[in-house]
Every structure is written in C-alpha cells, then in structure tokens.
Symmetry: C2
Subunit: 670 residues, 2 copies
C-alpha cells in the first residue's frame, strides 16, 4: 500500500507561480486568496475536518456556521478586511454563513438604492455589523415575476409612516436568506400604496428583530424554512416572513430614485432601469464564482482518477491502468477543466467591466450600458450555473462509487452549486431575456449598441453562410473556422426563433438552448480575445492557455450542452469526423502535455477542496478508511444501545411460531 | 387563498381502474401494492411526516430505519408476506432499511449458489431472520473489476476450514450494505487458494457478528462507512470490513457450482456463466423499479406545476398562467412521463421473462439464454438509471425554487436514484458490455441467437439505408418511419464503433452513447410490441397508451439523451422541422387530452409521493408554510440559546473601536 499520495501533489498552502497568478486573476486577487486562506485554514473554528457536517443534525451544523460568522466578523473588524475579502472568506467556508447577504445583496441595495442621507446613516451600521441585513423579495407565490408580488406598504400620512402587510398566504416572504434566525433588518420589496393608488414595487428597510434581545418586532411573524434538498446550504437560515401592520418611518423607504414626500406626493424615479442594478451585481459575482466551484470539483476528480487504478487497457500489462488514462474519464474531465477556465477568465472580465461601469455610473448617472451588462450577466448566470452544476455531478460520477461518499465532497459541491440554477431567477425564465434582446436588436438593427450581440450583423449580411472547405483535424483549430461554425449554428437557431415567434409559438422551452448557444459564442469570443492579448505578451504559460482554449472551443462544438445545438449544425459526416478527431486530439494533447501543469497552477489546497479524495498526506483509500469509516459516528460501540433490539428481532420467529402452535393446540382442543 | 387543492386530486389510498391495473402490471401486483400501502401508510412507525429526516442527525435517521426494519420483519412473519412483498415494502419506506439485502442480493445468492444441502440449512434461517445477511464484494480498491479483488480464502486441510484474510488496505470490503451495524452473516467474495494455487473468486458465507450479543466475531474488523452524498440512503449502514485470519468451516463455501473436497480437490463448476446470475437478478429488479422512481417525481412535478401560476402568457389575461401550460414545463415533463412509462412497461417484461427463465433454468440447468438476459439487464440498468436520475432532477428544476426545499422530496428521490448510476457496476464501465456483444455478434453473424440484437441483421443487409420521403408531421407517427430513423442512427454508430475498434481507439467514452442508442431501440421495440398486443385487445385506455408511445418514440428521436445521437442522425432541415413539429404535437396532444387521466391512473398516493408539493388536504403553499416553516426545528424560540451571542456580536465593533482608541491614547501619551 502506498503510504503517501505519490506524485499527486496536493498543496497545504497556495503555491505561487506566474501562471497561477494569471489564472487567479492577478496579483491582488491571488494575495487576497492567500491571506484569507491563511486566516481560515489555520483557525480551528473554521476546521473542515473537526466535524463531519453531513452526519450531524441541521441545527448543529447551522450553529457551527453562526459561530463561524461571529469569528469572521471579528476578523474583519480587527484586521480591516475589505467587503470583498469578507465575501470570499464566506465562500471558502463552503456551506454559507448566516451573515452571507450582508455584503452581497443587502449592502449593494443600500448602496444603489438609498439616498445619500440614508446611506450616511445606514451604511456604517451595516459595515460594523451593528445590524444584520437580509433582502426580502421572493414570496411563496411569486419568484421571477416580481411585478405580481403581493406584499403592500401603505403610506400613513398622519404618522409619516409606511404600514407593511402580507395580505395573503401566498404573499409570505419565503426563502429569505439569513432571516430565519439571524437578521435584524430586511430590505422588503413591497407594493407602494398611497391613497389606495398602487405605485408598484419599492424597497423598504424594515426592522424585524430587536437589537438588544433578538426577539421579533411587533407584527413580524417569522419561521425558519426547514431543510434544503441534498442537505444544501447548511449555514443559511432561510426565513418565511409575514407582516401584520408593521410600521416603519417614511425615511426607511429606499429613496435614491423614487421618493414619497411627507404630504404623500410621489416623486418619480429619474431612471427606470435602476431596478436592474442589484440583480446585475449578484449575477456578475455568480458568473465568476461558479467557475471556481466547477474547477474545484475537476481538481478533486483529477486527484482521485490519477490515483485510482482499475482493469488493464492492454491485457498483457502487469499493473492496472490509472483510470484517468481511459477515454471515458478523460473525455468527461478535460473539457470541464477547459470550461471552468473559460467561466472564470471570461467571468472575471464581466465583473471587472461592471465594477468599472458602476463606479463611473454612480458619479455620472449614465445608465446607457446597463442593458448590455444586464444581458451579459443573465446569459452568464444561466450558462455558468448550468455548466457548473452539471459538471460537478459529472466529476462525481466519473469517480465511480467512491464519489457517492459524503466525504468525497462532491455532494456538498453539487448541492450548493445547483441551487443557483433556480435562484436569483430560474434559468428557464430569466434565460428568455437573451432571445428577447436578440429579437429586439435584430429587428431594429441596433445590435451595434450591444457588444455581446455583435454577431447579429454577420448573420444579417449572410457572411456566415459560405461553408469553408475544412481539412482534416488541423483546420478546426483555426479561430475563423470555429467562428464560422458557432455563427452558423446561432444563425440557424435565431432564424428558427424568429419563425417560431412570428408563428405565435410558445418559445419558453427552445429559448433555453438558444441562450446556451449564444453564451457559447460570447464565452468563445471572450476567451479568444484574451488569448490574443496573451499571444502578444507571450508568457511562459501561453501554450497551456492555448491548449485550454482549443479544448473549450472544440468541446462546445463537438459535444454541445443540448442535442438541439447539434441538430442546428448538421455537418456532413466527413466534417463531423474531422471535428471529432480534432476534439479528441486536443483533449489528448492537453492530457498528455499540460494537464498536470494546469492543475498545479490552479493549486487548490487541501482546505479549499475539502475532500477525502484529495488529502496532502493520505491516499484516497487511507482517507476513506480512516476518516470515512474509522471516524464514523456509527462505528464501534456507538450503536450498542440498539444491539439488544437486533438480537431480540432475530428471535422473533420463535415467539410467532410459538404463538401459532399454541393457537393450533387450542383449536385442536376445542 | 384556496383552502384545498382544487382539481388536483391526490389520493390517500390507491385508486383502482382497469387502466391503473394495466400500468401497475396486473391485478396481483396492484393488490400487493394496495396491501403493502395499507400496512405501512396506516402504521405510525412508518409515518413519513412524524419526523423530518433531513433535519435530524444521521444516526437518529438510521435508528428509525432499524426500528422500521424490525416492524417489517414482524409484519412479514405474522402475516406470511412474500419475499417480493417484503422487498416492495422496503422500497415504499424510501430511505432503504438495514434489512434491505436480505431478500435481494443475500437470498438470491443463497438460492443460486448454494448446494441443496446448504440451502436446506441456511435458507430457513434467512427466511425467518434468524440471521441478518449482507453481500461483500466491492473492495476499497476494486469495484467493477471483480477479477482483481484481493480478499483471500485459504483452504486449511487440517482443520477442514477456510481462512479469510484482507491482505492490504485496498482489499478492505467497502460499501457493504447493512454491514456497518446490522448484519450477522455476509457472503464474502474472495480468491480461493488451495496449496497456494489461486482458483479465482468464490463465495464464502461468513459469520461476522455474534447472534446473541451482536458483537463482532474474532478477527472481523468492521466500521460503519459514514454519510453518503446528498444525504442519500439514510437507512443503510454501509460497512468497511477487514478479515484477520477468520475461520469458517469448509461447508460454508457456496457449493452449487464449484466445490472443494475435504482432501483439497477442487471440483470445477459445470457452467462458467453461473456467476452472472446474482447481478442479473439485481439489475432486472432495478430496471423496473427505477421507472417507478421517475414516475413518482413526474407526478409530484405535475401536481405542483398544475397548481402554481406565474406570469401571463397573454398580457391581457386577468389571471396568471398555470405553469404547466408553458412549453418550458410541458416539454420537460411530458417526455419524462412517457419515458417512465416505457421503463416500467418494458422493464416488467424483462423481469417477467427472467423470472420464468430462472424457474426453468433451476430445473434444467440450461443457461443458453443467460447471455441475452445479461445483455438486456445491463442495457436496461444503464438506460433506466441514467434516464431516471436525470429525469428526477429535471422535475425538481422544473418546479423552480420550491423544488429545492427538502420537503419537496425531490432531493431524497435524486439522492437515492442517482446512486444506481455508479453502483451494481458503474454505467460507463458495465455499459461497455453492450457494444462488446454487438461487435461479437455482428462479426460472427450470430445476432439471431439474441432477440435484443435482432436489428443487426437489418443493418447488415442495408435495408435501413433507403430514406423514406417523410411527409410533414403525420409520417413520424408511423412505426416504420420511427424504426427507420432509430436503425439508421444505430447503424451509423455501430459502423463508427467498428471503425474505432479496428483503429485501436479507446472507445470507453463513446460506448456510452451507443449503449443508450441501442437501449432506445430495445425499449422502443418493447413498447411497440406491447402496444400491438393492446391494439388487438382494444381496452378503453388504448388511446392513452398510444399517446405515451408517440411521445416516447418522438422524444428519443428529437431530443436524444446525448448530442452524439443527434449527430448520428443528421436529418435535412425539412425533416428536422417535421420531426420537431410531430414531437411538439404529440406532447401537446398528450398534455391536452390524456395527461390528467394518466396521472390519475398511476394514482400515486400522498404517502407514496411524500412531498409537500403533493398533499391531499393542503395546497403546496399551505404545506410549505405549515410543514416546512412552522414546523422547522429552528423556528420559534428553539435557537434562543444563541440570541445573546448574536446580540453580543452586534456590539463587537464598540469593543474593538474602544480597544483601538485606548491603544491610540496610550501611544499619544508615550
């Protein structure tokens, strides 16, 4: 038995190389990662091995998360961590913490939707955690369809207050993160009513718990939501919340845009697009971080499948074949490495662009690019969450039976990743915005205004239609050939969508594949542009990134996310064959020449991966035996109180047969 | 707020109609279902609402399962339930029970692999639960590759015993169901060694726990395995087991086939195929029951999506649209209803055929059909587990955010269904047996001997190659057109596979899609034959079954399980369009005319579905609020012991700022 993990090098601390700095998004980000990693991995409160979360009661798992939240608050306040660092530290704990919304959706709403006076009062309170914030939008009866939310905020002129109410069961705020136990203040989305007139949804900062006692405020009825599917999101206390004539001062309606004056006059917002803002922020963050989720799963799968041996490829071989050398593993795993890389690299670009825009926009009030960012982040959210959740589960399955052990970590990763497919907008619902925008701009010939739709012009002028004569294998690596194929596929799908819409068909199903195809193109383009920049700089890792790009580009063509994407690009068999050959060659090339180097450059640590299949000082078998089995809370004598019951059960037949005999005897006597 | 569930009729007890008897596989099966349902749904020990399993510690959830196992044993012994009824009752509990292997893999091995003398001794013990059985094959280091298992059973002539040993860490028996706490006897797969000669794997009935105390037997080292991914299989105590010179009498080697005489003479088995047997049995059972898992998920999704309203299809409408009326829901859900039906109906045929064969084979010793059943059940296992696991998760996602609540039940369903993708043989590994058989019989022109490969002859004589001129929509409903398309697709994939094999390529990845395409055809053919029988009998439900068949056939063509299946059937756009139109029309027709009737005929009860989204007396919103939130173990004052910690955390900034000021003052003074 191997006593160590051989040449599978699994770092304890982040390892720094120029390539890893590039992949992690630059020196600043890399250093932040290292600092956070240091602070958490070496602090026993954040230990990932001290407690086996999937074994304990949910309440106990949440308690642990609440104590971690407290410790993280201490760290932030004492060391002056940035909001970003705080957010990233929460992610590193993996199971979410109750304080998670504080610097995501809570703060971003205060920031974007409050007037300057309001900000001066509330932001310091939020920043120093004097209040714990949440964001209450979703109701039992309405998710994506925000317009039909039922909660009301009625203006009471006499007391200069709003009265918040939940008029129906279906208006119960539901799924509200951190609200079940933790939060003291919630930004409540409610219909503004003044003199019975409905002014639509506005945001109201509502105190829900007493700051000194944590008891519910009068009229606020809250329940924690109960467990989530797959044991997901253990650290979040979601809430179900109803309001019964809850009064808040007029000054707590978020008033950067619309306002209500003391006499009840409604002052309209200058800009209608402002409401996009907070969703765009959250989705921009999601676009990048889901890529990291996928890459961690890929890394665990890599470490395990390059350890595990099974069968012999060639029967004459003495030793068994390492499973990563089988096409069945390689062809599942390596495209996911390339896709994860694309999600992260292109996702970082989106976040960077949006951050720059935001800073500028807060100064100038110029919202002109917001629609493009909205579109980009919707597409990115749908694309990245689909690929990641599906990819994480593919990694687990590629590890075979042992992937099903909770300590492999894949279950936790999937539970937390797949959640994003239906939250912050169900993918099938929000995904419809992409085709809608495509249609609008195609019709109006306005795609020039939106960088992410630039390909529409090429579709319109028909330049995509001339089929290049593709030579075996090599040609598929040419970007112009890839672009031709991606545009041809999109052109076909867009035309079909135009036709369907004209025919009055319900396109809510087919939209999804179109959104994926659109995003394939957007990500391909983003990755390609990034590679072009690198080609000029010629860093030492150019070859690795090029190899990742090839696998990404060819996998979205050869093995698209949905069968209808394959149907939309019906290549002649000869071209299909050459595409497949090019794809397989790109996968083989990456596997043979760059895989180990790329995994090393990402350098996920033992702490980051949190998997028994990837321990620095133990093989997966040692870890599965020692951590999985020997430490099981049901091992040894721990269930011995049930032993007499089992022994007794095995003797039950005697009693039952005995009783039957007796009965028989009795009947015989009668 | 609606106080009831309107026209969503969710039964408390199984409802009987001719259609439901047909779907459930005949009167006997239906009656058994009803009896078991009665026994469990009305017995508080089996209540599914008394305890929220995903909230409690795993140990407590298992304890509950152990007590249920005891009660089920009592029911079986007292009421003389059949083994099948017992097995089905375990399934109805949903989370598996420790006693689960008793009448599946344990008994089926005693039955098939023991000599008559051995059976006379052991089967009564197993039947009356005097011993608790398990089956120990998988090791830490080997799953599908049974040949390389490392556990040894060395014959000791002097004592007429075998000595069982685990020579390495990787030889630890791992994942062994029911072995962590419960089992007293295990059928151990080990290499037989006689005078240092290795005779390969044989089965050894080994006592692992004392019958009177439940303590481990000398030399047996067992640990329970720890939690599983997604909180799956809560009722199973899997074990990790090592043997250190464990002695068993020679009479406990299972000796129906091979035998060891007291002088150490090895008597060869008459038939080499005998070892297939137990896997074939288990997989045959799996093929049918996974279909039921899918159908239950479909039913829950149906009940929820026909209650939930969101947005308006037509903006002028007053009320919102029921979400099942959107193509995005319909096109995901209805093909799954058809696929689930195909899995069950065709799966029942496989089990029936195999059962008949087994009875006959035990008498005659004729193994000639075993290869075909092996092939059928491998294909069915891969096909049914892939479609079911993917389908259950699709149902959850189609329910949007509320599907992520643990009480929706989808999480539990997925956790338990997806397990089957990697157990009893990893799908990517065992799936390779199908293409291997195709190749062998295609080369040898022996497909005539295997009914499930009959299509190879048509491929060989080229009769599939002439393309029919397909008329819009209607023609795709013709079975001969469907068969043409399925065979054309298969022909292309088989040819590619032949070419790849000839080129020495590693086909372990592409095999999987070929297995799915092969199974598409096998299930299509099976469903079609069944429909032909019905067409002669003309029952009242013929139209419904026909509608299900159309959706099944067109969905496997239009929306295949893997993109490469779409590539292998590159239809001209006109044919693609007509296929899609036919598919959509079939889905619409089923949705509009038969959906409610089919769901009613399946008639899953509230107890069977076990979902807050499908309660007989509550709407999903009422159930999510009352059962999910109001009953949450973290609601109310249950976390009040943590309130002072939270209050204190919100005041932390004062202390830290205070300390900083003091420090500043100190420095100023210095």
């Amino acid at each position: 038995m191997a006593s160590g993990s051989g040449d599978r090098k699994i770092p304890i601390d982040p390892v720094i190389t120029p390539f890893s700095i590039f992949l992690w998004g630059g020196r600043d980000k890399f250093d932040r990662r290292r600092d956070i990693h240091d602070a958490l991995a070496k602090n026993p409160i954040f230990s990932k091995t001290a407690v086996v979360l999937p074994s304990i009661a949910r309440k106990d798992a949440w308690t642990r998360a609440a104590l971690q939240a407290r410790e993280l608050i201490r760290l932030k306040l004492e060391h002056g961590w940035s909001h970003t660092a705080f957010r990233e530290a929460i992610r590193l704990t993996d199971n979410m913490l109750p304080v998670q919304p504080q610097f995501r959706i809570f703060m971003s709403n205060l920031d974007r939707q409050m007037s300057d006076e309001q900000k001066a009062l509330w932001i310091p309170k939020a920043e120093r955690f004097e209040i714990f914030g949440s964001y209450a939008q979703t109701e039992l009866g309405h998710g994506s369809n925000v317009r039909d939310l039922e909660t009301t905020a009625t203006f009471d002129r006499e007391h200069d207050e709003f009265i918040i109410n939940s008029p129906t069961l279906s208006s119960t705020k539901y799924w509200i993160g951190t609200t079940g136990v933790w939060a003291t203040h919630s930004i409540v989305v409610a219909k503004l009513l003044i003199d019975r007139k409905n002014y639509g949804n506005h945001l109201f900062l509502t105190q829900i718990r007493d700051l000194d006692t944590q008891r519910l405020m009068p009229g606020v009825e809250i329940y924690e939501l109960g467990p989530k599917a797959f044991q997901g999101m253990l650290g979040t206390d979601n809430g179900a919340m109803q309001f019964h004539n809850v009064r808040i001062p007029r000054s707590q309606m978020l008033a950067r845009n619309a306002q209500v004056l003391s006499d009840g006059t409604y002052v309209e917002p200058k800009n209608q697009k402002h409401s996009y803002g907070s969703m765009v922020t959250v989705r921009a963050i999601m676009a990048e971080i889901t890529g990291w989720d996928l890459l961690k799963a890929v890394a665990v799968c890599y470490h395990y499948t390059s350890f595990r041996k099974q069968f012999r490829k060639d029967r004459s071989r003495e030793t068994e074949t390492t499973v990563i050398d089988y096409a069945s593993v390689k062809q599942r795993l390596i495209p996911l490495l390339a896709k994860g890389t694309a999600l992260v690299l292109v996702g970082q670009n989106v976040t960077r662009g949006y951050d720059a825009y935001t800073i500028n926009n807060l100064k100038t009030g110029d919202f002109s690019q917001l629609e493009d960012f909205h579109l980009q982040t919707v597409g990115a959210k749908v694309y990245s969450t689909e690929i990641t959740s599906h990819g994480v589960e593919t990694c687990r399955i590629a590890c075979g039976g042992h992937g099903y052990h909770a300590l492999s970590g894949f279950g936790r990763m999937y539970a937390n990743a797949v959640n994003a497919v239906t939250y912050e907008g169900d993918n099938y619902v929000i995904g419809q915005q992409v085709p809608r925008a495509i249609m609008k701009h195609f019709k109006n010939r306005t795609e020039g205004s939106l960088p992410s739709l630039s390909y529409l012009a090429r579709i319109r002028d028909g330049s995509e239609s001339s089929s290049p004569s593709i030579q075996p294998e090599g040609d598929w690596l040419k970007p112009e050939v890839q672009q031709w194929a991606l545009e041809k596929r999109l052109a076909h799908m867009v035309s079909a969508h135009i036709e369907d819409t004209a025919d009055g068909r319900d396109t809510s199903y087919t939209c999804h594949a179109l959104t994926m195809a659109h995003s394939d193109f957007v990500y391909w383009k983003g990755f390609r542009e990034l590679l072009q920049t690198l080609e000029q700089e010629r860093p030492a890792y150019l070859e690795q990134v090029t190899s990742l790009f090839h696998v990404f580009a060819l996998s979205i063509l050869h093995n698209p996310h949905h069968p209808s994407l394959a149907q939309a690009l019906p290549l002649p068999f000869a071209q299909q064959r050459s595409l497949r050959a090019a794809h397989d060659a790109a996968v083989e090339n990456l596997a043979a020449n760059h895989l180990a180097g790329i995994i090393e450059a990402y350098g996920f640590t033992e702490y980051e991966m949190d998997s028994a299949l990837a321990r620095a000082d133990k093989t997966p078998y040692e870890a599965l035996f020692e951590e999985g089995a020997k430490r099981s809370e049901m091992s040894g004598n721990s269930m011995s109180h049930l032993w007499p019951m089992m022994v007794n059960t095995r003797q039950m037949w005697k009693r039952i047969e005995g009783a039957r005999c007796q009965e028989g005897n009795m009947q015989a006597k009668l």
